[in-house]
Subunit: 246 residues, 2 copies
């Protein structure tokens, strides 16, 4: 048995997230179907993360155990010729037999992309969030540092998801907010993320920009763990899984 480590990129606009579901098209199912055609047998892949419906990935990793001598480059090319145009294989290599894309991940970086111009960008409608009210990226960059460190992020987790978790403590190692022209980018790195966590973190910073929350509320939200103190869950369209670290 070989264990392949595959890096892909996908535009999530047309998918109901990564994870296989009944009656919904997902990235995992699309990948497994095409790999199954190439290898002529059923294939199951382990993704590094479960991205939500509409969320994108610049670098998403999965591993797959296969019993086939196809070359990595040959598999990459075959996959790219069969996959729809919104999913691409970037690399494929043989990994140690114990490698698992999810359990071995040491951390991830997400990017949230906001079109902060006056006009909608028709070329980025599904791949950014349009927010025409001026964002103060310097203030938000400073405020974002409050999230860095090991904290209980219970206030930044989808309510239903919390019940199944042993702990809502996670460590954020870096948070940056930068402007590039009309676009504002929120970069956040951490050892793990709760369901909807990045979207609530960014939604809370937008609330700070609007004066609906302030720095004290953020400190309080991390202390109290109450979902109501944090901001709302922002649209998935601006969220990208940027990188997975091993």
């Amino acid at each position: 048995m070989r264990n392949l480590k595959v890096i892909i990129s996908y535009n999530g606009a047309a998918y109901h997230g990564w994870q296989r579901q009944h009656n919904r098209i997902t990235v995992q199912e699309t990948i497994e179907e095409k790999m199954g055609i190439i290898l002529n047998c059923p294939v199951t892949v382990n993704g590094c993360s479960r991205t939500d419906a509409g969320v994108h990935a610049k670098e998403f990793c999965f591993n797959a155990k296969i019993d086939n001598s196809i070359s990595c480059d040959g598999l990459k090319k075959a996959m790219n010729s069969l996959l729809p145009k919104d999913i691409a294989v970037l690399s494929c290599c043989d990994a140690d037999e114990s490698f698992h894309a999810r359990y071995d991940s040491k951390g991830k970086e997400y990017m949230y992309l906001v079109n902060n111009g006056r006009d909608r960008d028709v070329f980025m409608a599904d791949t950014s969030f349009f927010y025409p009210f001026r964002l103060d990226e310097e203030r938000l960059d400073n405020t974002s540092k409050l999230f860095i460190g090991e904290h209980d992020f219970a206030a930044f987790c989808k309510a239903e998801a919390k019940e199944h978790l042993k702990s809502t403590v996670r460590t954020i190692t870096d948070f940056r907010v930068i402007r590039e022209g009309d676009y504002v980018k929120f970069f956040v790195r951490g050892n793990g993320f709760l369901h909807n966590m990045v979207r609530i973190l960014v939604g809370t910073l937008i609330y700070v920009n609007e004066g609906k929350r302030n720095e004290k509320d953020i400190i309080r939200s991390l202390e109290k763990g109450e979902r109501e103190i944090a901001g709302k869950t922002i649209s998935p369209s601006g969220l990208y899984l940027n990188k997975v670290f091993y």
Copy 2:
């Protein structure tokens, strides 16, 4: 009667071009429908150009005669709230009653965008052309200058379209090919363009890159006007109407 000059931008991936057609969704029809709802009467608009199916516009101009006192800013906002996310109104103003978006145009600039990286870009699948074989942008930039000037572009026109034309002579005022990282951009300006002209011009330059045509063939194609001497018509997905000049 007022005569409005409206600038829009659209991602053409989901549309069968600009011009209204039976049983196909076009940008013109979408615009006329939404304006009709806002103004509560049928509206006909005159576009500056007829873009093909799948072609995009960064700045497309149309004019519309309306009998309504709505403010330009109010109309822009109402349009942007009703229009689908792949069409946006960038500006709207009152123009002279004689203004016609097509007949008054003094020229246009098109941009053709090629992803010349090794990998497909899933975020640009519908808005660029993927061509992974290395383009020599310096040579193509030099070669593109051969098209500048007044020429008979009969060899660079869709065959069926030629029959309806009085003349296939057009003037190209500028042609540039530049690289930005993995992307190569072809910019072409002229006083008017034949059907498929930009796509055949770029397709011919790609043939030059591949050694299937050379500089002498280009000179000959302009002299002889034979479609076969020029290269093939490249995909619409990379083509953008960049600007219209008045």
